[in-house]
């Protein structure tokens, strides 16, 4: 079974900070930007939904043809921070967005939870190292390489 999947982490100011093309389907050069378009457009829906639910995992919130967008929103509505704590503002309202052409909500949910854990670790490590700017390359070199395995696992 061929799958296309694109995973993007979007920071709270809508900047993509991590991007991974995963999946077994051959990447088409002319449609390389399609996942970005779909996921960025889905941000609007996330914004709408975030007001209505306290759930972090928003399953299948948007779709384009047969591609389904699932989103995991990190704590924002849960933590009400009056003044930004050193690194906490990097952790909140980050959105993990996954574009998949197949649906298995449980798999996606556990994938998101693992990523969230990993993301927090990376953030804390980078903050402890005294980095003011998040250094995504470090994250990428580190644990995030493991990400590439997960979608595969999910489809099994």
């Amino acid at each position: 079974m061929t799958t296309t999947a694109c995973f993007i982490i979007v920071s709270r100011n809508d900047i993509p900070i991590y991007e991974a093309e995963v999946g077994s389907a051959a990447k088409r050069e002319d449609a390389a930007q399609l996942p970005q378009f779909i996921l960025q457009a889905a941000l609007d829906i996330v914004q709408d939904l975030a007001w209505t639910t306290s759930a972090m995992f928003l399953k299948a919130i948007d779709k384009f043809n047969d591609l389904v967008v699932s989103v995991y929103v990190t704590a924002d509505h849960i933590l009400n921070i009056s003044k930004p704590i050193h690194f906490l503002h990097l952790l909140i309202r980050t959105r993990f967005m996954l574009l998949l052409d197949s649906r298995s909500d449980d798999g996606i949910k556990s994938f998101f939870q693992e990523v969230h854990e990993l993301y927090i670790k990376c953030e804390i490590v980078s903050c402890c190292n005294g980095m003011t700017e998040r250094n995504m390359e470090k994250i990428e070199l580190g644990n995030f390489q493991r990400l590439k395995r997960y979608p595969m696992k999910m489809n099994l």
Partner: protein
């Protein structure tokens, strides 16, 4: 809640779902009408819409109500056919193409701003042609057989009074051969209301004949159904209608004022009366009656429990027999068709309650019969009726969705129906402010027809823009989708228009693939229209997209260059990102009174030089430098500027980086400089107001070729591999006095693309000006006051080794050149590390080395005497009579001694004064810098143990280890320096080291007898430090001279060694161990000569 009839959908329905009147007329009638530029139907149409009538109507159950608004539509019988789909498509395409031409944005117009769009009203944002397009699209569906509201309610038969035998003509007109298929094939009841109209053209004469005809007609067709219409009362055709009622029927607006110029106001009033009478006295009562009749029939056959049960039973039995996709064929006499007609008539007469109950009744029948198209049509009408009733909103939308989905399931044959249903549904959602949902419906309307899909997607995008809060990402995405569809249909202008809007959404986005996509396509499309200038601006945005794949980068660059080439122009691009300039690496090296012998010297921190020159430059120590003295002469504006000298190059180092994975080649990289040459004006402070750069400044940016210009700029070409970074050195040489500003750098990416980058002055990393002023205004960093040409010394030390062994003693020569014709004088020199390098005496110039160090018989030890003083003050003064003239060089001997192993940096400053050349600059310094590496050679250590038996005798043990890996040292002599000591070898050297060669890694231990030799009477006048006794190693009879360790330079270096190895104190004994290296493996300036090594060990006791 607004009255549903006043909503856009309500208005649309009241306009579209209205009774149809079929018109049958003779050619002569048409002829009369065409005199006015109008057809018969066109002439009457404006008067079919009644907004202010009052017709009493009764519902089927005798409830009275009044109709205040009414409209019917007139069609020629020949037009009552389902339009040909291909023709309709072609017409729609023309509509779109024309809209594309009209709506195409000006090149000069700015890109739309999203915020601007949001602040405007909906009607201003939406392109006006959408409405028209949608209407046209819906119109392609007219006269389908499964809906009754397009079926003619009445027939208007028109004959001209000029026709021969008008009565017969009337009969002939309603000839079944010419009637629409709807009437003929049984889809509708052919027995419809007929109305007979006689048209009389007043230009043909008086109307008596017509009146006669009318009475004849009345007797034939009935008194109420006949009318006479007189037109063209105006004889001259000069009638002008101010608000011509026909304007909306003619889109070309071709002199609409000429329409109807034979129609007088009386004519128009007559037409108006005719139509009003037709509607209120004939059509409405007819429909009312028909509704009553149909309702009766339906009630008798279908209402009531028994009938329903029967119907259900009957249909269940039929189920198996029917399996066609369109379901069964219903004729006009079938009860199903009649119910539908009942519903549609009720809807048109605004009896919505009756309409909805009829539709609901029929819908289950159609569902059971699997007549899906009819089922969808009925569901659609249920939805609309609910809407008009303004009740069960959920139900209304649900019905629309069912209808829409059912149409979609049926596929392409009913795609148009799905589209129309979608439109109505969308309008319904919009009315309820569910704009977001409306957008998804637009998205679902998109069918196989790309062009229609493009328009739908664009409309969807506007829905997202207009939703509250606006969904800009969705807006952008749908615009892009729409643009791509337009492009596939060759509607480039539409594609550009949508992409332009998308660009405004995606401006400054960090989603790089999106940005690239949008700019690349719009750039390409503009280029395909030949609008290369705009294309280039878009292509520039994506030129340095480092995240793209190699092939994309190649494509972007190739297309960009291709487009630029087509423009045939030279493009100067500010802040071109190809290559990227790393501005933090910008380094400016220039020379004012401080000059440098090499780039290496220039890169040394200013502080190092300052501390070295501290006691040499008088003005600095006196806290008044030449700048302060000259501050009156230089305007305050430039007081803090840097000074540079005409004819001397300013060097700028800057780093270029190729962000792409593909190699690029860069040509003609050079600095952009401005030189304002008016130093005279600058000198007078009174004129300082005139010194504004704009007034009397001229720009110069010339190439190296132009000798006569006031500036000489270097040009560099280079190529960069993918991702490569290169440090480029650029120079500018001002040739005349003035004020020089380095503005930026420029380069050529191809023959017609010039990249410019202006330096932001505050980011300049300036190394040089640190020592002079505490604060610099940032703008001054790249601004230079150019003063007139001055002498400049060049200096170098030819044979200073880069790598040597510890202990090496070498004779060097310092060469100083002066290129200018003015002499310099009062030379002084300071060396940072006198332990390693020392100025020698002029008398040593051109002597033989190392022979000059050999002990002579009549030794004058004068050199040694002054050394202690020299050591302290460090500054070496050249003799006062020495001056360096034009094209003569000064050579001065230097002594080098590699004292200790390690990396050593030598800093040498030569100070010189200029004679009467410049009032601004009195002196200059030449700074030289050398790095050298000293490797360990011999490790020499001494151990002194007192003789147990004699008080004044000591046993001296010397341990020497050759630490090199390959060298072989010839041991030569050991000398003691200090008080009167005599010492001798305990055993001959031959027995220890017959060859006298110490090979790599070899160790040697010698024992000496050291005896204190009291000779106090003679040593009164001589410095005890410089008394010497030697032991020569060598074969007996060796006549090689011993070296004199008590005279310069060995004595000098020994003095430094004493200083560094510890405090000087009497009673200690120092040793100097001298070896030679005959055939060194190490790089040296003079390979043929043996190298001399001296190792100094001090304070051995």
């Amino acid at each position: 809640m607004v009255d549903p009839a006043n909503t856009p959908l309500g208005k649309m329905l009241l306009e579209e779902i209205t009774p149809v009147v079929m018109v049958l007329c003779t050619p002569l009638v048409e002829e009369s009408c065409l005199k006015n530029g109008l057809s018969f139907v066109q002439m009457l149409s404006p008067f079919c819409d009644f907004t202010n009538i009052d017709v009493p109507v009764r519902t089927a159950i005798d409830q009275p109500y009044r109709l205040h608004k009414f409209k019917f539509r007139l069609f020629y019988a020949s037009d009552i056919w389902q339009p040909n789909l291909e023709v309709a498509k072609e017409r729609l395409k023309q509509v779109i193409t024309k809209a594309g031409e009209d709506d195409f944005p000006e090149i000069s117009s700015d890109l739309p701003q999203v915020n601007d769009l949001l602040s405007r009203h909906e009607s201003e944002i939406l392109p006006t042609w959408f409405q028209f397009f949608n209407k046209e699209l819906v119109r392609t569906l007219s006269f389908s057989d499964h809906e009754a509201f397009d079926h003619p309610v009445a027939c208007l038969l028109v004959v001209s009074s000029r026709d021969e035998e008008p009565i017969n003509r009337f009969l002939d007109l309603f000839n079944t051969n010419k009637l629409p298929s709807l009437l003929n094939d049984g889809a509708m009841d052919p027995k419809i209301l007929k109305h007979y109209l006689l048209v009389h053209d007043n230009q043909d004469g008086a109307s008596e004949k017509a009146t006669k005809l009318l009475t004849k007609m009345r007797s034939t067709f009935g008194p109420n159904d006949c009318r006479l219409l007189c037109i063209n009362s105006s004889q001259d055709g000069q009638t002008r209608h101010k608000d011509t009622p026909w304007a909306t029927f003619r889109y070309d607006a071709l002199a609409t004022e000429h329409l109807g110029h034979f129609l007088k106001l009386d004519d128009l009033n007559e037409i108006k009366n005719l139509m009003q009478e037709l509607s209120s006295k004939h059509i409405i009562p007819y429909m009312e009656q028909k509704i009553r009749l149909l309702n009766q029939q339906v009630s008798s056959t279908r209402k009531g429990f028994r009938n329903q049960f029967k119907n259900l039973w009957w249909r269940k039995g039929k189920e198996d027999a029917l399996d066609t996709t369109n379901g069964p064929v219903y004729t006009c006499s079938s009860i199903e068709s009649q119910i539908r007609v009942l519903g549609d008539y009720a809807f048109m007469l605004r009896d919505y309650e009756l309409a909805v109950s009829s539709y609901r009744l029929i819908s289950t029948d159609y569902k059971l019969d699997k007549a899906w198209k009819r089922y969808a049509g009925v569901q659609e009408m249920i939805g609309l009726t609910y809407f008009m009733l303004d009740q069960s909103r959920k139900e209304a939308e649900y019905c629309m969705e069912i209808a829409f989905n059912t149409y979609l399931k049926l596929g392409s044959p009913v795609q148009q129906n799905a589209t129309r249903c979608g439109f109505w549904w969308i309008e319904m959602l919009k009315t309820r402010n569910q704009i977001k949902e409306a957008a998804t419906v637009y998205f679902r309307i998109c069918g196989e027809d790309l062009l229609h899909s493009a328009v739908m997607l664009e409309q969807a995008s506007f829905c997202y823009l207009l939703s509250k809060p606006p969904m800009l990402h969705k807006y952008g995405f749908h615009l892009v989708l729409s643009g791509d569809h337009y492009k596939k249909c060759d509607q480039i202008k539409h594609a550009i228009r949508t992409y332009r809007n998308a660009v405004s959404v995606y401006r400054g986005t960090t989603w790089n693939l999106i940005k690239d996509r949008v700019h690349f396509h719009i750039g390409q499309w503009y280029a395909s229209l030949g609008m290369y200038d705009v294309a280039v601006t878009h292509m520039l945005e994506i030129l340095a997209s480092s995240h793209q794949s190699k092939t994309s980068q190649e494509l972007f660059l190739r297309d960009f260059l291709h487009i630029v080439q087509k423009t045939g122009k030279m493009f100067e691009v500010l802040k071109l990102q190809l290559p990227v300039i790393n501005i933090s690496t910008l380094k400016v090296i220039f020379e004012d009174h401080r000059t440098y012998a090499s780039p290496a010297a220039a890169s040394i921190k200013e502080g190092v030089w300052c501390s070295l020159e501290e006691d040499m430059i008088p003005s600095l120590s006196a806290k008044s430098n030449w700048l302060d003295v000259q501050s009156k002469r230089i305007p305050r504006k430039y007081k803090e500027s840097n000074i540079c000298v005409a004819g001397e190059a300013i060097i700028v180092d800057i780093e270029f980086k190729n962000p792409l994975q593909i190699p690029i080649s860069i040509l003609s990289v050079s600095l952009i400089c401005e030189l304002s040459a008016n130093p005279e004006e600058l000198n007078s402070e009174a004129n300082s107001s005139n010194v504004e750069p704009q007034n009397d400044e001229y720009k110069t940016s010339t190439s190296t070729g132009d000798i006569n210009s006031s500036l000489v700029l270097s040009e560099v070409d280079f190529s960069l591999e993918g991702g490569e970074t290169i440090l480029v050195q650029l120079t500018v040489t001002p040739r005349v006095e003035g004020i020089l500003t380095i503005v930026g750098v420029k380069w050529k990416l191809s023959s017609s693309v010039v990249g410019l980058h202006n330096f932001e002055s505050n980011s300049v990393n300036k190394r040089i000006a640190k020592g002079r002023k505490a604060k610099h205004s940032p703008s001054a960093d790249l601004k230079f006051v150019v003063i007139k040409s001055l002498p400049r010394l060049q200096g170098f030390i030819p044979s200073l080794p880069e790598k040597t062994y510890a202990g090496e003693l070498r004779y060097l020569v310092l060469e100083l050149n002066n290129q200018s014709k003015f002499p310099v004088k009062n030379l002084k020199m300071k060396i940072s590390n006198p332990r390693f390098l020392n100025a020698g005496n002029q008398s040593y110039l051109n002597v033989e080395f190392p022979a000059c160090l050999e002990k002579k018989l009549n030794v004058e030890q004068s050199g040694g005497h002054g050394n202690a003083k020299k050591m302290l003050q460090n500054v070496f003064h050249f003799p006062e009579d020495i001056s360096v003239q034009e094209e003569t060089s000064l050579s001065w001997p230097l002594w080098f001694h590699a004292a200790v192993p390690g990396h050593v940096s030598l800093y040498i400053t030569v100070y010189y004064e200029l004679e009467n050349v410049s009032s601004i600059m009195k002196f200059r310094t030449l700074r030289m810098h050398y790095n050298l590496q000293v490797l360990p050679s011999l490790d020499v250590s001494f151990e002194l143990s007192p003789c147990p038996s004699r008080l004044e005798e000591f046993l001296l043990r010397m341990d020497v280890v050759n630490k090199t890996s390959s060298e072989c040292f010839q041991i030569h002599q050991l000398s003691s320096v200090g008080q009167q000591w005599d010492f001798s070898l305990l055993q001959p050297v031959d027995s220890i080291l017959p060859s006298q060669s110490l090979f790599a890694g070899q160790a040697l231990s010698c024992f000496f007898m050291l005896k204190y030799h009291r000779k106090s009477s003679t040593s009164e006048d001589s410095n005890p430090l410089f008394l010497q006794s030697d032991v020569r190693f060598g074969p007996p009879g060796n006549s090689e001279a011993l070296f004199d360790v008590c005279s310069s330079p060995l004595a000098d270096f020994h003095g430094y060694e004493r200083l560094y190895q510890g405090m000087s104190c009497q009673g200690n004994v120092d040793f100097v161990f001298i070896t030679q290296l005959r055939r060194g493996n190490i790089d040296s300036g003079a390979p043929h000569r043996p190298l001399l090594f001296s190792h100094h060990v001090c304070h051995c006791r």
